[in-house]
Subunit: 385 residues, 2 copies
Amino acid sequence: AVLEDAIESFQEARLPIDKLHAQARIAEALESPRQRILRQFNLLPNGIESLVFMRAELLRADDQERLAPLEHDLLRLLTLWFDAGFLELQRLSWSSPAALLEKLMRYEAVHEIKSWDDLRNRLDSDRRCYAFFHGRMPDEPLIFVEVALVNHLASNVQMLLDESQPTTDPELATTAIFYSISNAQPGLRGVSMGEFLIKRVVAQLAQDFPALQTFATLSPVPGFSKWLKESLDEDSYVAQLPLQVRFMMEGDRQESRFDRLQTIVQDQECARSSGLVTKDDLLALQQWLLSECAHYLLQEKSRQDPLDSVARFHFGNGASLQQINWMADTSPKGMRESLGLMVNYLYQLDAIDEQYHAFAKEGRLAHSSEVRKLLTVREALRIKN
Amino acid sequence: AVLEDAIESFQEARLPIDKLHAQARIAEALESPRQRILRQFNLLPNGIESLVFMRAELLRADDQERLAPLEHDLLRLLTLWFDAGFLELQRLSWSSPAALLEKLMRYEAVHEIKSWDDLRNRLDSDRRCYAFFHGRMPDEPLIFVEVALVNHLASNVQMLLDESQPTTDPELATTAIFYSISNAQPGLRGVSMGEFLIKRVVAQLAQDFPALQTFATLSPVPGFSKWLKESLDEDSYVAQLPLQVRFMMEGDRQESRFDRLQTIVQDQECARSSGLVTKDDLLALQQWLLSECAHYLLQEKSRQDPLDSVARFHFGNGASLQQINWMADTSPKGMRESLGLMVNYLYQLDAIDEQYHAFAKEGRLAHSSEVRKLLTVREALRIKN
Ligand SMILES: [Mg+2]
């Protein structure tokens, strides 16, 4: 009844000021008793942690529909309690408690940590790992990022993770590559922490290593295969394909175009030695895929935002798309998701703010001239009707 | 438009589950852009502090009406950010930074701290002072409480604050008297912290001093004079006054009954030596005032809650009214507010929860048999028609 009354006074309000007051009344009426009960948890020793875990369970539950209001209340509460201003940055290293490092291994979402040796390599002297913690949940990392200190814009993640590669002197490194960022708490889904983590770590590294000039990611393109597969099912798209590429994909009537494409890309050596494609075919294929990826990242939208979730995240932080890398993640996951492509987003300290505003206001996606060239190539390659 | 749509779907919803979903949509639509801007402050070094100060200014501003929506948004945010679970208990002592102690002097709201000597006495070895702090606002106490470690239920605050009184050995103290609790931040008005502070300090003291058996307050009765003055203006109330008391107050037609009463109470010696009242009159007056105060605290309501704001606070915490003290605060403020009366609320660890629930559910106000007797006395004294 309180809510109904507040709504009524909102609907009857004429003056803007009365509208505002009625809105405040509605907001008060909506403060559900649930909210008040949930807040009580904060008084218990592990109360906040149990709320985060509870929300994780709710999000996994079968009865989504019925539990959604509770889950929303939790999200609203956790969003404020885990506001970026309250998060504490901690460096994780080989000296950190094993119990904590074990959690890293479990939570790593981008490039699976295969063993303690793999982990140790990721915490080597030319590597950095940082996590956000919350004061009331000291044993649980909330989100963490893995960084490699190197001398070039890394273009291949397997090389980056190769334990046999020599360790570089971090003092001499010119480039910090953020190659993995993982949310550790499913219960905090929808609470944004990644942007602040990256920016805090960039600031920290810039202070610790004055020689660093470039801060960039080596990022997946998780939606590329899916988009390409759907496009290849559309006649209008296929009609515009460069002929050389189209022929390669249509060699076998049993396989779909995309599957055929994947077979070729996955083992290019084999495709060539078996006479399926020529060396020139492969070059054409590479150029075409790189230009399609540039188009996918910069021009394919979901409403007004980039269709690709990772692109959406980095552009939304004010980063720019610097480079698209061929055969950059040759793991089964990389091949499946993006035909092995990965990209670098650049976090350029003096450009981030401006790029962020251009993105927020006009939806502009910052990118390098190299990537822009790929768009030009695409235009040139497509067959116009 | 988003809000209007959400409201419409709420009004059209039939099933409880649809109502709930529509409510969630309304709540989302109400998340004002203001809220989002306010949250940004948390990323700045003194951001939270400036929000607290901003709200203090808003509450003082002339243009309340127009600023209320912003002030409400701030309150909702600060309520969650200053949730009791996030507050840190700190003991303040003579070893604390002078800059901090100076703030105590400035913020003390109950019994003015007159000098550094006065303050030093309040921080003596038989005294304790605790404050809540927030991690993001480390230099600002939020609320603090002053405690005296003594051997009896203190019944007079001037004695408690008398610097010339000998210091007692805190290890031998049986009773902890909470004689002052002050909100230090006007910008956090409406954010409840007092209850948790008292309970945390009780727990802390019980641990530090095993000999302590009684935890009680020495509290003002801020609304007593106001209520009595208004009552004395009503004929029906006056008609029920004990005659001896009524005659005393009606000696002079120039003065109102209440003013006359105040004159007598303020200087009882003088009233007696000038032949205005007899010793027996004064005893009758004392008994009558004590019983009226018991009635005021236990039976006068504002809606269903105790009319007196301090009583409302302590009963709401699960405390009980233990004792009403005559001439307990003879300062001008004490005389003005409550004709010198003060009371003790008892925080009995094993009774608090039960008393809290009886209060919350049935509005029951816990009190001692001594106070109950005062109610019986009152019934006996009143003149029935
Ligand atoms: Mg003393």
